[in-house]
């Protein structure tokens, strides 16, 4: 699943960092798992909003994944005001896993 964005260049930098954020149970990064829906960059306010989900609501690892996402984004954009917007509509499903993610899970 492609991550929606309004700034392709910054989005690429963000995704490099987010590839290091793993779902600890599955061992796959949150981008290939399809948890990241959108990254929105505001040039005026320097706000960066990551809209993402979890594989299940009230996932026991949820807080950790959100915290890691925030930390990773802050490392990629030290001047940015990072916000993680956690949503559950649309709910995550297996079709959101990327091709790389499928390869990781099936080998």
């Amino acid at each position: 699943m492609d991550v929606k964005t309004n700034n392709t260049e910054k989005n690429e930098i963000a995704l490099i960092g987010l590839h290091n954020v793993l779902d600890p149970e599955i061992g796959l990064n949150i981008v290939d798992l399809g948890l990241v829906y959108e990254i929105d960059f505001s040039e005026e306010t320097n706000d960066i909003v990551v809209t993402m989900t979890l594989t299940t609501q009230f996932c026991p690892m949820g807080e950790s994944i959100v915290e890691s996402t925030t930390q990773s984004m802050q490392q990629s954009f030290p001047e940015g005001n990072i916000q993680v917007n956690l949503i559950f509509q649309p709910p995550w499903n297996q079709s959101m896993i990327s091709e790389e993610g499928h390869i990781f899970l099936t080998t």
């Binding site: 954020v21 026991p60 950790s64 915290e67 990773s72 949503i87």
Partner: protein, 424 residues
């Protein structure tokens, strides 16, 4: 179009609530295997003996129930998609159970059914009431009332029925509450707990977690409703036959109903496994899958017991039946699922603040996988040998089996406490 959620991260149940249950359960397993090792001769006698009762209640309450209570405080929010209502009620539940269980076990061991046993039983009932209230209030505040949560909540209602009857049976030793002696009600008390509490709870949690761990595409709510109905109707029909003192052969009705429920659950798990995206299945999930197979063993033994009861009373088979439930099916799922939940709880506690910006260990690295494997091997050897010892009524074979089970408990405790004391 996205629907925005809250900006603040979701709050899970605090690890402080859950960890005491895990530690307590691990120590209870060790205590149970030590008692088993010291009292193997009890397994050549009638099952209604002080030492057998002490071991059974250590396994059922200290081991099985405590770890389910702990894990479910963490997992119940996942099932109902809502927060746990109260951490305080969870602490209270732990406190009452942690004090009550040793009271009850000691009373059984000494066969002193007066003050110590009564205090223990009251405390255990208070623990269950706190747990029941917490789950009820959590469900009432949640948006999703799904089949898994209904399984779990019904299981807790059966647990309360079990512990309440247990309390009355304890009192019945000193004050005649019932017209019959407490021994008469033993099978009713046991099956309320085994089928109503353990089976329903494990099915409710397992049907949610196993497909989740396997990343399976399979879903079948209709089948889960069938399983739920079969198990509950089976248990209710058992209670009716028991209380009406109907013919022994009629017990085949609940056995068939529960048996079909178990087979359907096996099919559900198999299909989840077959339609999984995650091809590599770890040892912890394999162990849990084995427990689904092992649940069939006591059902077959029970059917044989009922067939034989028409002609003779087979004490060995009854002992084997109880053993395959508490040391077989329930222990297998706990041995597997502990290492699928506990390392993540600790990992969350220790590493969540630094994950994403630096290298952190995999949660699986928090325990020794070698010891986990050895644990599985010693357990299976111990389980089979001890089972044979019961059939043969041989103290020697029972001793050998109990040594392997004791080693299993030591290895399990090593890994559990290695995780519990893990630091960055």
């Amino acid at each position: 179009m996205f629907i925005a959620g809250a900006n603040s991260p979701i709050k899970n149940t605090s690890y402080k609530v859950v960890l005491p249950f895990y530690g307590y359960a691990a120590l209870s397993f060790l205590v149970a295997t030590i008692l088993l090792f010291n009292n193997t001769s009890a397994f050549t006698q009638h099952y209604f003996s002080p030492h057998t009762l002490a071991i059974t209640h250590t396994m059922a309450l200290g081991w099985g129930t405590m770890i389910i209570l702990g894990a479910s405080h963490q997992l119940f929010p996942v099932m109902i998609e809502g927060k746990l209502h109260s951490n305080f009620l969870a602490y209270l539940s732990f406190f009452f159970a942690a004090v009550g269980i040793p009271f009850l076990v000691t009373a059984f061991y000494k066969f002193d059914m007066s003050f110590i046993a009564q205090t223990g039983a009251v405390l255990i009932n208070l623990a269950v009431l706190c747990y029941l209230a917490n789950l009820w209030l959590s469900i009432a505040n949640s948006k999703s009332k799904n089949i898994h949560a209904i399984f779990a909540f019904t299981a807790v209602l059966w647990l309360f029925t079990t512990t309440l009857l247990g309390l009355l049976l304890i009192w019945n030793f000193t004050t005649h509450i019932f017209s019959e002696g407490s021994l008469y009600f033993l099978s009713l008390h046991a099956h309320l707990g085994i089928i109503g509490w353990f089976l329903l709870m494990i099915m409710g949690v397992g049907s949610r977690l196993i497909p989740m761990f396997l990343i399976s595409k399979y879903e079948n709510k209709k089948m889960l409703w069938w399983i739920y109905s079969l198990i509950n109707v089976g248990l209710i029909s058992f209670i009716f036959i028991f209380l009406s003192s109907l013919k022994t052969q009629l017990y085949f009705v609940p056995i068939v109903l529960v048996g079909i429920g178990v087979v359907l659950f096996g099919i559900f798990i198999y299909r989840s496994y077959a339609q999984r995206i995650r091809k590599k299945v770890d040892g912890q999930v394999k162990m849990s899958l084995l427990s689904v197979v092992l649940v069939v063993v006591p059902i077959i033994i029970l059917a044989i017991i009922i067939l034989l009861f028409a002609t003779l009373s087979n004490i060995q088979l009854v002992l084997l039946y109880g053993f395959t439930i508490f040391f077989g099916w329930i222990t297998t799922i706990i041995l597997g699922m502990t290492f699928k939940t506990l390392p993540f709880i600790i990992w969350n506690k220790v590493y969540s603040s630094i994950a994403g910006i630096g290298k952190t260990p995999n949660p699986k690295e928090l325990f020794s996988s070698r010891i986990f494997m050895a644990n599985g091997v010693t357990y299976l050897i111990g389980f089979i040998i001890f089972g044979l010892g019961i059939i043969q009524s041989s103290v020697l074979i029972l001793n050998i089996g109990s040594i392997f089970l004791l080693i299993t408990a030591v290895l399990y405790n090593f890994n559990v406490f290695k995780i519990l004391f893990h630091k960055a």
